[in-house]
Every structure is written in C-alpha cells, then in structure tokens.
Symmetry: none
Subunit: 284 residues, 2 copies
DNA sequence: TCACTTTTGGAATTTAAATTCCATTTGAAA
DNA sequence: TTTCAAATGGAATTTAAATTCCAAAAGTGA
C-alpha cells in the first residue's frame, strides 16, 4: 500500500490481491507452492498441515514450529498477498468464528427490517434453532449427561421445576416420563400450591432456568438440595446460580431472536435425557 | 519463566493456583461466579457464553464485547488465578486445536460412545431436530402463515388448545403472548375444568395436535368452531381431522426417534407465529 | 571464477497490546 | 449523614509482538 514504486513487486498489488477466505488462501497456495523459495515452501507446508494454529499463534511460534526465521514468515505472508502476518491472521480468525453466526448482526438486521413477513421471521427461528442444535453438541458434556441419567434413574421420584420460558421443557419431560411409567412430578406452581414437601432425600430434581433466572426455580431447587435430593440443572452458562447447588450441569447455549428463543436445543436435550432415564430404569 | 524471585505476589499463589485446563477454569468460575463484583461477573457471563472468543481476541475486543473496561478484564484474570490475560489466553489457545471440527465429526464422536449411551441418543435427537427444521420451511405455506397471523391479530382473545405432547407448544405460546400483552388463554384441562364457554365468536383458537390425535383437542376445536371462532391448526398432515373444521392449517412434519419427537420444528413455528401476531397487533 | 541476483538470518525499529497505577465513584457500615 | 473500603474507569507505562532493514550467504549465468 505504501509502495507505488515497482521496488517490491511482492505484496498486495492489483494482480495480487489478498485472499478473502481460508479456502481461497489454500487454493492459491496450492497453485504457487512449487515456485516458492525453499524456506517459504517449508513454511507453507507447515501451515498446510497445521492450519488451526494460525489463528492462535504468534509469528515467532509459527516460525519455530516450521523451523524458519520470523522474517521468512513475513515474506510468506506478503507473497500470498497480505500486507503482513496480522492481516493474514485476521482472516484465519474470522473464518473460525464464522461457524457461530454473529447474532448481534443478525439481531440488528431483524430489527431494522421490522418483523417483516411471518415467513421471514420463521426463517430466522429455523436458522437460529439449527445453530443452537449444532452448538448443543459441543456444550453438553457426555460425562455429565451420563451422570445425570444415572442419578435420575436411581431416584425414587423425579421432580421437574421450571417456569415461564422453561415450562415447555418441564412439561415435555413430564409427558415423556408419564408415558414411560417413570414416577415424576411436575411442579407447575398452579394454584400457588406448594408441593415442595413432596421432595424427599432419595428423590432427584430437574431444574430448568435460563437468564434472567426465575427466582422461584432457584429457591425451590435450593430447598430441595437442602433436603438431600440430587439436582440436575438444565441451564445456559456455568455462571448460572444453579451452579452453587452442586448440581449436575447440562449446558444449553440457546440463541435468541429478539426477546424469544427457539428452545429447540433445550427440548432436544430434555427428551434425550428423559428417554435415557426411562431406558436405564427398565434395565434395573 | 524469567522470575524465580517472588517479585510478583499477585498471580498464582498457593491458595489461588491458575487452572490448568479450560474445564477446570469453568468449574472454578461456576463456584465463584456469584461472589464476584458486578463488572467481573458481567465479564464472566460474557466469556461463559462466548468461550470460543477468548483464544482469538485481544483484551480490548473482549472488553468491548462484554461492555466493560480493559482493566476489569485484567482484574478478572487475576481473580481467576492467572498472572494476567496473556496467561489465561495461553490456556484457551492450547485447548483450541481441533476444538471445532465440523458438525458431522462432532455427531460421529458423540455416537461412538456406543449406541446405548445418552450422548448417542442426544445425537439422534439433534439430527432429527435439524432435519425437521429443514423440512419446516417447505411444509409451511407462507400464505397460510400470513393468513393465520391476520386472523389471530384480529381476534379479541386467542385460545390455545393442545395436550400431551402438544402441550409444550401451547404453553410456550401462552408464555409468549403473555409477555407481549396479547390477551390469550391456555386451555390446560387442569382440574377437569371446562373453560370452553370462554370462547366467543370474535375469538380465535390455536389448536395443536399430532397423530395419534388427542380426542379432547378435536372436540374442543369443533365446539369452538361451532360458536363461530376461527381455528388455526398446527398439525402434521393435510388429512388431519382438524382439516374438517375449515381451519387454517400450518403443517409440521416432525420426525420421531422411537416413540418421541423432537418438537423443534413445532416450537419454532409456534414462536414465529406468536411474535408475528404480537408485532401485527402493535401496528393496529 | 567473477559479477550479479535472489534468498536468508538476525538485529533494529515500529506498532500495538497487556498491564499497572491512581483518581474518582459507588456502596456498605457506623 | 459521615467514614471507609471496595470497585471502577481511564490514562500512563511497560512489555511483547509485528514489521522492516540490511549485511551475509547461496545461487546463477557469463
């Protein structure tokens, strides 16, 4: 950008624009790899086999990994059309985060279009639901899930606590447990009846709440814990207040559209949990 | 590595050693989250929700994302037992590699624990949920959806009818309508109380039922129709008994895993419907 | 072999980020 | 209220990384 002189024909010139995606980058690399000088080729091979390192390493670290000098790394970046390493790294970093849709942008877009047509809104929810499901696979810890199933299968009675937006989740759990003849109680809060006294030491509780957390759910879960019951928490982040209760945590990072969330991931987790518990009880 | 001297008493002290894995980090965060000061908690929530950003962002970027000052980020890192942000980031970066294999790989991984494990079952539900969502866009007729929104936006009161597995759908609708101040009644069937007399000619009904259809839902919808109320049906196929009622049909082909279905698509359709109705009412 | 170009290694410089410091604000206790 | 400790925001400083530069080495063709 600084050299209008033809002194260094290498970097970002008109005929040599920077790749705009990691795919494009590797495509170009494949074409020009064999006409690169020795050290540059050496470095190219290194990042071709360790592409994931680029986003999180420094020039010095990559240089050492490839056993070349830092300056060779710089020359390579410029050869590939970037102004320098930083620009190249930026590309690798943005590509990485593209997997989790940038929901700030998405939300803004939704707002500016108003709510448009119902179908457009539906498309949003579908999209967000898909992303949430995809993310669920990485946020749920298989060991914790297994542990939750064990605890629930052993319990005398299973209690479900969850209100407001969590209520669809607990009510579906209640349906599933009933269908499988698993003794379970849905604490609906209906009629302001307090059914907490039903919770006994050998019982287990499934507490479901997402930020902003429902006080009632937290209170009830805390009291259940005090009686000695085990707690399985379906919640959104590790900093959830349910963590205090030494609960088994199952985390669901559900995305919002406006003020609402799709609940797809939470319900999928819940039903998988319920069916597993049902199956495990039958084996006992 | 350079200071063997105890010159910097801040970081990694005996009672406050730095976590040595990302898991350990989040475990500790879960324990101490509620006794953190406001801004630190705010930042904790941010990275609990966006753990993937830590490896590839600067202090300034994270600070902006969480809407706190850079110095708050530093204090947080030290509170968690690190000497500073750099050390914490190093941890996240070493954990980074291959942390984000593509969706297919993650699914396979969850499954490989054996078909009988809860994770494998969860993988099933996730996949089925995704497929259902994909389907949804083609089974729902945009014109019918728009028509449903119009009818519901015009109604005096909206009644939701749906039991058993449809109940999570209606209860989520109820939550959404309440939050948007749309007059709506959830017919829960609780206490065997019959609230049908509440349905008046200028009202509208959302009836939700899937095969095998719940008799009660069909009966109530039929009677509502007789009083002159409009019916919006969320159901599975065109041959659904609700078709007879000249209902506006919104079709969801939800796939099963064994005896249960994921409900992802139904919930997404319901919430999109509710939000559209809320928006349209505000415009009137 | 010599002259000349390309490539290389490493030091010097620049730039940007991390970290510390401190004056102000906030909130709790007396 | 007043007092004090804790928490906060933002500027100042330090540290580390990226980038440039140049002298030495390795190639290349005459």
């Amino acid at each position: 950008m600084k050299n209008t002189t033809p002194s260094t024909p290498v970097s970002a010139t008109l005929d040599n624009p920077a790749p705009d995606s990691v795919d494009a980058f590797f495509k170009r690399l494949g074409n020009s790899a064999d006409q690169l000088p020795k050290r540059l080729k050496q470095f190219a091979d290194y990042i071709a086999t360790n592409p994931d390192r680029v986003a999180v390493s420094t020039v010095a670290e990559l240089a050492e990994g490839a056993d070349v000098q830092p300056s060779a790394v710089m020359r390579f970046c410029q050869e590939m059309g970037f102004s320098g390493f930083s620009q190249m790294q930026k590309l690798f970093r943005s590509d990485y985060s593209a997997k989790w849709p940038d929901y700030a942008t998405r939300l803004a877009k939704l707002r500016e279009h108003g709510t448009e047509t119902p179908s457009a809104l539906l498309a949003e929810f579908v999209e967000v639901g898909r992303a949430s499901l995809e993310n669920l696979m990485s946020t749920v810890n298989p060991a914790a899930l297994q542990q939750a199933v064990d605890v629930l299968a052993r319990a005398d009675t299973i209690h479900m606590i969850g209100f407001k937006r969590a209520f669809p989740v607990t009510s579906y759990l209640a349906y599933a447990f009933e269908k499988m003849d698993v003794p379970a109680v849905l604490h609906s809060g209906i009629g302001a009846m307090n059914m907490e006294h039903l919770i006994r030491p050998n019982d287990a509780v499934i507490a479901v709440t997402f930020a902003p957390y429902t006080e009632l759910t937290l209170d009830m879960a805390a009291r259940a814990r005090a009686t000695g019951a085990d707690i399985v928490a379906i919640t959104d982040v590790v900093t959830s207040p349910l963590a205090r209760l030494k609960a088994i945590q199952l985390l669901v990072a559900e995305l919002d559209v406006g003020d609402f969330r799709a609940l797809s991931a939470s319900l999928s987790l819940a039903i998988a949990l319920a069916v597993s518990v049902g199956a495990q009880r039958n084996r006992m």
